[in-house]
Every structure is written in structure tokens, then in C-alpha cells.
Amino acid sequence: MATAAVEVRDVSKRFGALRALDGVSLTVEEGEFFALLGPNGAGKTTLISALGGLVRPDSGRLRVLGRDVATEFGEARRLLGIVPQEIVFDPFFSVRETLELQSGYFGLRDNGKWIDELLERLALGVKADANMRSLSGGMKRRVMVAQALVHRPPVIVLDEPTAGVDVELRQTLWQFVRELNAAGHTIVLTTHYLEEAQNLCSRIAMMKAGRIVALDSTERLLAAFSERVLRVKLAGCELPASLAAGATVDATGWHRIPVENAAQVESALARLRESGARVSHLEVTEPELEEVFVKIMARGYAPDREAA
């Protein structure tokens, strides 16, 4: 069996009365683009911190490419790059100095070529010799991404990397991260922008109150918890009886008719025509992760087992 990129087994962590992590287990395979989602305080950052050795769990084990983060921390940390959520920087140094120092902590000398590439890819080239203090928030965040990547870790964890980053830079960042994933790096991502997770990630774990409440492929989660919907607004007439079953109507007069595919959209429209209904507005919405998220968070915790 191939070694998992990230293996979390029965990890629990309490901070006083708060159970930040409550028996969390999950596996991320090598090469995956994996999303870790959940509301604030669900335990995502604690789990990531435990993976990086910043938090010591009360029980359970964590491994990065087979290396235990507690007993083989040197190896585990070489295999792992974490971009922390909070913006942090050392005001004593320039961008390039920051990256050279970070390389040095990993024992890397002559890392200039890779540092230059990181600066270029993250659009930091013009600021390479600027002091960290003079950078905007978005730029500081990109320096943190570069810091996490100086040692070319095979497993990359990004904890809300796009919070407060403008649209253009977000695109640049995702383009770069996608390329890293295509080159074989495993990516674990947390974000509150569910659209990002839906577009980028092939598998998703959702956390709530320190537990994993859903863990499956993005496709299956969407199929199970969200649907394609034909939405219509009618001008002064009722929905024909043949469509009313299964449809709902909201306060603003939008009818919501679940459909599985394009053929069903067509047949629903044909029935509307036949009934003589006049359609004033019409749209088809695709399954959305946001809907999945809201449903899973609302139903409370169901002790799911990890998908085999």
C-alpha cells in the first residue's frame, strides 16, 4: 500500500474545557487536492497546527508521508510546508532575507534559484529587497506562501490562504498551487470560499466542533446533498399540476423544480408551454458546495466513519 501523504489517527486535543479535536481520523493520499472545511472554531487550524508540531495532541498520532510528527519531527517537517492563517512577519528583514533565512533553517544553502522562482511566481519580484514592514497584507501573505515552499515540501497545507487577498492575486496563487499539484505535490486547503474548494479539490472533509462530520469526494458530496434546479418565475399564473409535485415556491415567487439533467429541463419547459403558463424569469442552478455545507452543518453531528 502506498504511504499516505497525511495520516491522522484518533487525534484529540483539549484546551481547558474546549474539545478542539475530538477523535479526528483522516487520510489524505499522495497527490490529492484536499479541502478541510468547517465553520470558525471547528478545529481546522488546531488540526493543521498538530500536523506541523505547533500543537501537541493529548492522544492520537499524525504522520506526514509515513513520518510521525512527534517522534520523527525533523523528517516530518522537511516533508511538510504550512502556510499559517494569521499574517506574521519579521520586521527586521527584507523579503529575500526572510526566504534565505527560512531556507537556512532547513539546512539549504544556495537556494537562490528556487527563491527567485518563488518570488516571480508569487509576483513578489519587485519587492524582493523591500523590508517586510512596507508590504501590504496580501503581499505579506504571499511571502508566507513562499516561506512555506522554500524547502519544496511534497505536502503543502494552506490555512485560508486567500483571506484578504484580492481577486487577481487569488487567481495567481491558485494557478501556482494547481501547477504544484500537477507536479505531484499534495495540497491540503482550508477556506471559507466554498466555491474555491469546489473548483479545486477532489476530496473534502468537513469539520464541526472538533469532529469530522463528512468526508468524501467532492462529486459524491455534491450528488448526495445538492441538486440541479430549474428556477422559474411565472407572470400571473400557477405552476401546472404535472410540475407542482416535488417543486417548492419561495416568498418572492420563484418556483424551484429539481431536475437531474438537460432532458428534464426541456420536458419541464415543454409542460410549462403546454399549460400556457407565461414565464417571466428562468434559470438553471448547478449543485453547489455551499448547499452541501449548510445541510451537513445543520443536521448536526452524525458519527460518519471514514470512507474506505
Binding site: G52, G74, Y105
Partner: protein
């Protein structure tokens, strides 16, 4: 020791060197002011050792006091700044071991102490001609003295959550102990109680032994001073390493 250690050491040295006006020039100026004021006020009245001018007695002690205070300031301020700004996370995410952290922070503190000490001697050279010191005693006490305070600074930097807690540590422990370490007077001239109390202060041995390197005279045998200062250094180093290994306040 991992291959990352030299980089962390370099970073810690760069950190104070980049603001050397504040971290080196300022303490040298303070020492110079002490010298001018105390030598003016006391040189006519105090003779610490027979045949030794007061200024000759004072300068090595002042240099050592500056070294002790700056060794403490270096490690403690670096750690608390990294903790409060949060950038320590990138050090903690690296493969650097507790031993790397200890050695790098400590040696950078010794480096700052040596630069400050040398600055004090250079600044006063034209005022107070001093005998050529014995290099072995000089080195031994410079290292153990700065080492004790460097380690104490790491402990304080790890323990303190806020700048004012660190300031309390500095104002209520480090400052009194360095001022009462026999820098301005020979402890032999004190009443018996204060003499005994001074002998409980590990900083006293660093000052006394360091002065011996210049004058060949001291309150306590330099061997005894070295033994006591080394023991204090080893005990604090052990405690510091223990804290770093346990992850106390650094890794929850």
C-alpha cells in the same frame, strides 16, 4: 545540531546588528555615563584594592555589567518579539531542534555581550588606561557571564506573554542583581550581612572573576568564581533546554 543551526545564529546576530545604534551604542554610552559620574563622585573616597585606582576597578565591572544586561536583553527581546508578532511559527515549523534553538539564541547573546563589552573598553580607553588582561580568564568569565544571562533571557522570553511581564523580570531581577554584583564597590567593604547576600548572587562571581582578568586581584578566588558561575550556567542551560524540549508556551 542540525544544518539549520548556523542560519538561526546568523539571523539572531543580524537582528541586533541591524539596530546596533540601539543595541550596542546605547549601552556603551550608558556605561560611559556611569564611569564619568561614579569616578567623579567616588574616586577620591574609595579605594577598592590597595594600589588600584577606583576607575581601574570600576571599568571591568561596568563592562561586565553591560555585557550581562545585554546578553539578557538579546535573547529575551528576540523571543518575546517573535512570540508576540507570531513569526516564531516559521522557526517552530522548521526541523530546528531544541538544542539548535538554545545554542543559536545563546551564542548570539554572547556575541552581543562581547561587542558591547569591547565597545565599553574602546570608549574608555582614552580615559582609563587598563592593564592588559589575562585572555583566558577574560574569555572564561565573558562566556559564562553572558551565558548565564543569555539562558535566563531565553527562559524569560519563553515565560513572558506580554512585554510588561518581561519588563518586570528585567527590572525586579536582572537589574538589581547586576547592580548589586559588586560593580561599583568591593563587596569586602560591605557589612557582613550584605557581604553574605552578595555571595548568593551568581552575577557577582562573573563580575569579580572578570575583574581579576585585568587586575589580578579579586574578592573571591577566580577558580571559585569560575566554578560557581559555571555551575549556575549549567543549571540554567539545563532548565532552558528542558523548557524548549517540553514545548512550554511555544508548542501547546
Amino acid at each position: 545540531m542540525t544544518r539549520g543551526f548556523p542560519t538561526l545564529l546568523r539571523k539572531e546576530v543580524m537582528r541586533f546588528w541591524k539596530v546596533s545604534f540601539q543595541t550596542v551604542a546605547a549601552p556603551v554610552l550608558s556605561a560611559l555615563l556611569y564611569l564619568v559620574i561614579f569616578s567623579h563622585a567616588l574616586s577620591a573616597r574609595v579605594e577598592a584594592y590597595p594600589g588600584v585606582r577606583y576607575t581601574e576597578f570600576l571599568v571591568p565591572g561596568l563592562a561586565m555589567m553591560s555585557m550581562l544586561q545585554n546578553a539578557f536583553a538579546n535573547t529575551s527581546s528576540s523571543l518575546i518579539q517573535s512570540k508576540i508578532t507570531g513569526n516564531i511559527v516559521f522557526i517552530l515549523l522548521s526541523p530546528l531542534t531544541p538544542g539548535d534553538l538554545f545554542a543559536a539564541y545563546l551564542l548570539a547573546a554572547v556575541a552581543r555581550a562581547v561587542v558591547v563589552g569591547a565597545g565599553v573598553f574602546l570608549a574608555v580607553a582614552w580615559l582609563v588606561p587598563l592593564p592588559v588582561p589575562n585572555p583566558l580568564w577574560l574569555f572564561a568569565f565573558a562566556f559564562t557571564g553572558a551565558g548565564i544571562l543569555g539562558a535566563l533571557g531565553i527562559i524569560a522570553g519563553i515565560w513572558a506573554d506580554k512585554f510588561d511581564q518581561l519588563a518586570a523580570f528585567q527590572n525586579f531581577l536582572v537589574m538589581p542583581l547586576t547592580f548589586l554584583a559588586g560593580v561599583f564597590y568591593s563587596v569586602d567593604s560591605l557589612p557582613p550581612f550584605w557581604q553574605a547576600a552578595s555571595h548568593l548572587n551568581p552575577f557577582f562571581y562573573a563580575v569579580d572573576g572578570f575583574r581579576y582578568a585585568f587586575l589580578g586581584k579579586s574578592d573571591v578566588s577566580p577558580w571559585a568564581s569560575l566554578a560557581i558561575a559555571s555551575a549556575a550556567f549549567c543549571a540554567l542551560s539545563w532548565l532552558t533546554l528542558h523548557l524548549l524540549r517540553s514545548g512550554y508556551k511555544l508548542r501547546n
